[in-house]
């Protein structure tokens, strides 16, 4: 490698380290790792662990930092999840004593395929605006049992619990949601007031008004320096990122040479390689909800089979009808060519429609992430004021509302379906009950009609 390239490589790695500055990496470690030096190993495990922890979010908080064994398990688990396919990595010892070159390769693979730097910057982004999350991803939380925790119920007798306590808890939960909603409403009212009262105070013409954080900054100027410092450190990280982007091709060339080193070494070690087949089969001891996924696949499978059969039945039935009709039509049709032409046209149209709907869903863009709330008076000319070329992405509240409404309807339907299933079962049970008659509560529709009826009478 020429001296110039070497210098550029050093710059690139230095820039990379600056982007990762929060994680405390030393550029020297990279060089050591190329030669598979053991002293770089621990640092690389730590780097990978911290990086993945930051990017993958809150769930990993309870990970013990000190325990290298736990760190390694965690890193391996996540790479397994992302699909890193080199078994050498999974065979690395849990004491963190060797394998720095492999770790360098792993790190680079992650960096490229999982866009780690971008994710890291995004995760640590300093948010000064009033942001609202528009995606409902975070609403989907798997309900899990805390098996370790003993839950004492005040309604228990000899280990048994009264079901009314369950009902009471359920009611309490609903009450909890309702109070949360009132708090949200107050928050929103105040937020809007702040936006309204500070119009014209912001330096960004697209935003125009201050956020809560920014207003608070003016109220408590002592916080200002802190925030400015944070912004400045982010700025330097972003600068480093841009620098890295400029230089990264050198890094990737160098990584190829690292890979060459590894392959060469592997070739010379081939005879001694005694990888146990049994070992390779069980490489990870982590739970990524495999069972859950299989369950999901099975559930989906059975629903799809039902759907498919249903469709088949309808289609064959329709086909019969159609064939009869066509036979009758054939006699009437004056021009066979016209008829065929129309049929062709219909076929094409339908095919296009189906393709569009079912083969492009991968690109379907749902709303994700956080948006800064910006108050724009309708009178003040809405989107016109935004410079679209600057890459600023803007959505309107109405779009979010309709998207959420769609989701709401879908979920409501699902819940109704589940409840209906339960009702059927319970009705069956009620019939078999001796000496008790069950009168189900009126449905909501009925209540509504009754109320309306009363209203008419009075």
């Amino acid at each position: 490698m020429s001296r110039a390239t070497n210098g550029r490589l050093k710059e690139a790695i230095a820039a990379l380290c600056r982007v990762l500055s929060g994680l405390g990496v030393n550029p020297e470690t990279f060089r050591q790792a190329k030669f598979n030096r053991p002293e770089a190993t621990a640092e690389f495990w730590k780097l990978l662990c911290c990086l993945l922890k930051e990017v993958c979010g809150a769930r990993t908080r309870d990970l013990n930092d000190e325990n290298i064994d736990a760190q390694i398990r965690f890193v391996k688990s996540i790479l397994w999840y992302y699909g890193y396919g080199n078994l050498d990595f999974y065979c690395l010892p849990y004491d963190g004593s060797q394998g720095s070159r492999e770790l360098l390769l792993v790190f680079s693979w992650l960096l490229h395929t999982q866009h780690m730097l971008e994710k890291l910057l995004e995760v640590n982004k300093i948010r000064v605006g009033d942001e609202i999350s528009v995606c409902t991803c975070d609403a989907i939380k798997t309900v899990r049992c805390k098996s370790n925790e003993e839950i004492a119920s005040p309604f228990s007798q000899q280990g048994k619990t009264d079901i009314r306590y369950l009902q009471w808890l359920n009611g309490k939960l609903r009450f909890c949601w309702r109070t949360l909603h009132t708090v949200q409403l107050e928050e929103i009212a105040l937020l809007h007031k702040i936006h309204l009262y500070t119009r014209g105070c912001h330096i960004d013409p697209n935003i125009n008004h201050l956020s809560v954080t920014e207003t608070d900054l003016l109220k408590q100027p002592e916080n200002c320096n802190k925030l400015v410092k944070l912004l400045e450190s982010e700025n330097s990280r972003l600068k480093a990122y841009l620098e890295w982007k400029r230089l990264e091709s050198v890094y990737w060339q160098w990584m190829e040479s690292v890979l060459d080193c590894k392959l060469e070494e592997a070739r010379s070690l081939q005879p001694q390689d005694s990888r146990n087949e049994n070992n390779t089969l069980q490489i990870a001891g982590f739970c990524h909800g495999n069972i859950h996924t299989i369950g999901e696949v099975e559930k989906l499978n059975s629903s799809l089979v039902t759907l498919h059969d249903e469709l088949q039945e309808i289609v064959s039935c329709r086909k019969l009808l159609w064939d009869e009709k066509v036979k009758a039509k054939e006699k009437e049709v004056p021009n066979m060519r016209d008829f065929c032409g129309t049929i062709m046209k219909i076929e094409q149209e339908v095919k296009k429609k189906t393709d569009l709907k079912y083969h492009c869903t991968h690109n379907k863009t749902e709303m994700h992430g956080s948006y800064r709330l910006v108050f724009k008076d309708v009178k003040a000319g809405f989107t016109r004021s935004v410079n679209r070329e600057s890459g600023i992405h803007v959505i309107k509240a109405t779009e979010v509302i309709s998207e959420l409404q769609r989701k709401e309807v879908k979920l409501e339907k699902e819940l109704k379906k589940l409840q209906e299933e339960c009702r059927k079962k319970l009705d069956g049970i009620a019939e078999s009950m001796d000496g008790v008659i069950c009168i189900p509560p009126p449905t909501k529709k009925q209540i509504h009609i009754e109320k309306r009826g009363k209203g008419d009478l009075t």
Binding site: G83, A284, L373
Partner: protein, 536 residues
């Protein structure tokens, strides 16, 4: 959580008599344990959210209320830079000046009462014309002019001009006299309104303020409340006080260097400012009272300016993010590391399944979405089915083809699902992890409830709303979706735990009723059970 338990404990004591009733509907231990833990977890989640929101709320509340504002550091700095000519006046000097001002106030007062009669007759327009003609050239006029053009609305110009017009000769001496007092920018800038709403004042005024309150202003105030809107009270103190005008002028110059946006923007909100009339009142009021240190966002929010240090950092930050975003946008086209990735992946071991768990999850989600779509279309189709007789043959054919297409998609999905299932099974074999075996959270389903899997866009996207109502609707819907998600999860668990309890012959009707309520009515309504065994 703890609080919840405490409450539950108390509830238990008061309800103990009920428990001793003969019909108990008890749940078996482990079933109860699982259900309670899930409900508690859900509630914990909700409480946690509320707590976070309330923390945030307390900040907003404090902002909306009254503040005692401290001089911002860099404003202080700006101010002190401007204060070059002024050694701070000594207290004695101030006192002297105060006296002089008082004397002047008296003179003005007399003048005012004469003018009052005159200006009532004169129309506004005339006042402006007059102002334009007679505009004097006090030492600050150039600055003043610049400032007005840049920042003020035409309306306010009118107002200031008028005020100038009616006190043409006094200006010089006034500025001169007031000078030491005015060069104290701290006192000046932070002067703020007291919360008390000022009633339109009559001719009553205290000595100190009288000098500062220009005669016409005062007349307007006392004349009619409507006209308050015409007078832009906000520029009162700043525009009329020369040193201060200077300082503001410089301030805006600085801002302009940073970004020309804000000053331009200012026009519109200043014009529409909700609190204009109050500001006018403040203007006259503030002269009567010693400068209070109280600030309310409602009344003076528009006057806020972000500190320079913040502005600089913010703008730089925004620019850098934008650049990074551009890089990210073209990352697919020019990916320098592609060759390395290809080579490393070629060397991956063949025992690895073709899909990673992450991809598998994605595929399953995709297929689930497809299933939902097909189902929806089929339902819609069946809905129209009843009146097929009225369809044209073209429509009918197209619908037949659509259904056939759906069938094909469904069978494709089934094939794909088969593959996924194989992959999932291989994953199971290689990754022997199991939720029930692993005790720490770190090991279990790290990605199970990850926040959002989508790569950040690296921009600061904006959401434009145009009314509070829209925001409220979004919040309500978001919560609703969240609650529905939770209800769905709870429903599945409750059904799987509770329904088997009814299989045995010896359950209490009470249990039946409770289960019915929970499973079919989401706990909102309950069925009526009537004993029928007394019949003959």
């Amino acid at each position: 959580m703890d609080r919840g338990r405490g409450k539950a404990g108390r509830g238990a004591q008061s309800l103990t008599p009920f428990l001793s009733c003969s019909y108990l509907a008890m749940l078996p231990t482990d079933c109860a344990h699982r259900l309670l833990s899930i409900l508690n977890w859900a509630q914990e989640d909700c409480t946690e959210q509320k707590k976070q929101l309330e923390e945030h709320l307390s900040i907003s509340r404090a902002l909306i209320g009254e503040w005692t504002i401290n001089m911002l550091e860099d404003q202080k700095q700006e101010a002190s830079n401007e204060n070059e000519h002024g050694d701070e006046p000594s207290p004695e000097e101030c006192q002297d000046l105060e006296l002089l001002n008082k004397a002047l106030a008296k003179a003005l007062k007399i003048r005012e009462s004469i003018l009052a009669t005159g200006s009532k007759v004169q129309g506004d327009a005339k006042g402006v014309e007059k102002g334009a003609d007679k505009k004097p050239a006090p030492m600050s006029s150039a600055v003043h002019q610049k400032f007005t053009c840049k920042e003020r609305t035409p309306k306010s110009i009118k107002a200031t001009l008028r005020s100038k017009a009616l006190e043409p000769i006094k200006n010089n001496s006034r500025y001169l006299l007031k000078a030491p007092y005015r060069t104290d920018p701290e006192r000046k800038r932070i002067r703020v309104v007291s919360a008390i709403k000022l009633q339109p004042r009559g001719s009553k005024s205290t000595g100190k303020g009288a000098v500062k309150t220009s005669a016409p202003h005062k007349i307007k105030v006392s004349n009619s409340a409507d006209e308050l809107d015409l007078v832009q009270g906000y520029n009162g103190p700043e525009v009329m006080d020369s040193p201060f005008v200077e300082s503001v002028g410089e301030d805006s110059e600085e801002t302009k260097e940073l970004l020309s946006g804000p000053e331009r923007n200012l026009d519109c909100p200043a014009k529409e400012g909700m609190a204009e009339s109050e500001m006018t009142q403040r203007n006259s009021k503030e002269n009567a009272l010693p400068p209070p240190n109280i600030f309310t966002l409602k009344e003076q929010g528009v006057t806020l300016r972000l500190p320079v240090s913040y502005r600089t950092a913010y703008l730089k930050n925004a620019r850098l993010w934008e650049k990074s975003y551009l890089h990210q946008k073209n990352r697919a086209e020019s990916a320098p590391g592609m060759q390395f990735i290809q080579r490393i992946q070629e060397n991956f071991d063949s025992v690895m399944p073709a899909l990673s768990p992450a991809m598998l999850k994605e595929e399953v989600t995709y297929l689930t979405n497809t299933y939902t779509l097909i189902n929806q279309e089929l339902e819609a189709e069946q809905f129209v089915e009843e009146d097929t007789d009225f369809l044209s043959w073209e429509d009918e054919y197209s619908r037949l083809l659509t259904l056939e297409g759906l069938q094909n998609v469904a069978s494709d999905c089934l094939c794909k699902l088969q593959e996924l299932r194989e992959v999932a099974e291989r994953h199971m074999k290689m990754d022997y992890g199991d939720c029930s075996k692993i005790s720490t959270h770190a090991d279990c389903a790290v990605f199970g409830d990850q926040k959002c899997r989508v790569v950040g866009s690296m921009t600061s996207p904006l959401l434009f709303y145009s009314s509070v109502q829209e925001l409220k609707e979004i919040a309500a819907l978001k919560l609703r979706v969240q609650v529905l998600h939770q209800q769905l999860a709870l429903q599945t668990v409750l059904a799987s735990e509770l329904l088997p309890l009814l299989d045995s012959k010896y359950y209490q009707p009470l249990l039946y009723r409770a289960i019915y309520t929970l499973l079919c009515e989401a706990g909102e309504q309950f069925p009526v059970l009537i004993r029928d065994d007394l019949s003959d």
